[in-house]
Amino acid sequence: MTVLPRTAAKTDRERTTRAAWLIGLGIVLLILPKLIYPVLALDILAWGLFAVAFDLLFGFSGLLSFGHAAFWGSSAYVTAYLLGHGQSVPVAILGGVLSALALAVPVAFLSVRSSGIYFSMITLAFAQMVSFLALQWTDLTGGENGLQGFARPSFLGLDFSDSTTRYYVCLALFTIGFYVAYRTVRSPFGQAQQAVRDNEPRSQSIGFDPARFKFTAFLISATLAGLAGAMYAFGHGVVSLEVVNWRTSGEVVMMTLLGGTTTLFGPVIGAGLVLLLRDVLTTANLPVGIVTGVVFVLVVLFFRRGVVGTVQYWMRRR
């Protein structure tokens, strides 16, 4: 049998490939604020982690959440609110993350009982509930005006008025979040999660409870989306209704697809590409919606593996 050694060699190569991606991504992220302006770089980190969180659910559990803006947005609001009410940066970010987790518990409980397209529509509807709440609960969210001009008091001698400092703080948070996602996927839990995704009846027959795995995966994903949302609020110093809009939920899907689902690196690269594209379009005064819409359609039609997925596919075929 020649199969076994080849498989072994393949996993070896896969490990090397993964290390290469990791080092490459690490280097790019370390020097990113030198290449583009720091706030855009910060955006890439926040959206990148958001997309990783989304992919944890979509790619690894097969659940297409079309309402992830709810967790990203509620965390962003809570973080901004806490900062505006005199809390320190770590407390505010932690508060944001916990609020996303707290919100995720009932939403996950109600939505993981459905699958496929039902799941998508239910998550979308819950996100819309959050969005209307954000519009009306003006004491917390500032309604149409959003929250802006909130303080970001220095902490441990770090001056957060400097956007490069904020970038590196976010890079640290991003690394933690990415590591959590990475560990989750590579753990026995992650393997079971993928087994449930690939064949639910069979996974059930060997003793897994699919609903429980989906529920836990949902909570982890929502919490990471919350961390990303907190980074966004902290990084920008402005939170508006856009963070809970359904377009935000759609955009994170697009970033993940463009980069490549089930790759973890892909979503970050997808986020980077979308944000850079948007930056170029806005600077050149081109219609953003038309171009992103076309890109989205083309990706769904012809490029479902995404950037990283395609590269991996080529390497595997070699």
Binding site: R113, A125, Q128, F132, P287, G289, T292, F296, V300
Partner: protein, 296 residues
Amino acid sequence: MNTQLLLIQVFNGLVNGAFYALLSLGLAVIFGMLRIVNFAHGALYMLGAFVAFALGQAFGLGFWPSLILAPLIVGLIGVVLERTLLSRLYGLEPSYNLLLTFGLTLLTQDLVKQVMLSQYAVSSAPYTPPEALSGVVNLGFVVFPKYRLFVIALSVVICLITWFVIEKTRVGAIIRASTENPGVTRAFGIDVGKWVTGVFGVGVGLAGLAGVLAAPIYSVEPYMGSELIITTFAVVVIGGMGSILGSVVTGFAVGVLAAVGSALYPPIANTLVFILMALVLLVRPSGLFGLPEGAR
């Protein structure tokens, strides 16, 4: 609160309900027959209103010809979309249809916005109802705009016709057969692909019709479908996906409930439908009129 005010709210709720019903009916027909979740439905509704507006600007066409022409044009656009784009995704997970049509939504909204800005120098334009329908009707117990009554009536008629065609006629039988067992249906010499395209066109045409009807009430602007489509999705989930009766009944019911609810406690207006959805899901995950997921 006095009865008069409540009645007016109920009527306004029925008007909103008419739009929910027409849109979710189109979604139900498309999903029930094609297993496509058409996220672009809201954008196509907006396109219906926009086409009516553009026909008026370019050719001086009034409301009545537009009421016929705009849904036809939108339906035709739907046919082209189905043939060129959506048909490439059959056999894949339905989520890809959702994603594709989401992309189309972004595209359509911005395209219409650009056209409106460059051609008409506006991003939102009023659309006047036809003269025959302007003014109010005194119903004895309440005075109500004529045009809104017309919207309710027409919507009910259209829903009844659609239900009748699908459930009671030979055409409906062919459509149902094509989706339940395409292989056998094809063996009877029926071109399933053509029927599927036709059904999509009709479903989308319904959205276009709703758009023309909405133009005099809400005025024409590129994002008029974007919030509506989300509520419509909730209506579809409550009613049971793919159920024609469910979508129509729930559409009107949600419209009225939301209107009455908002009269009693205004801040709840837009959230009520989603609270309702959460409650229904707790009790019946497949919706009020839907079959359990496995039963399909």
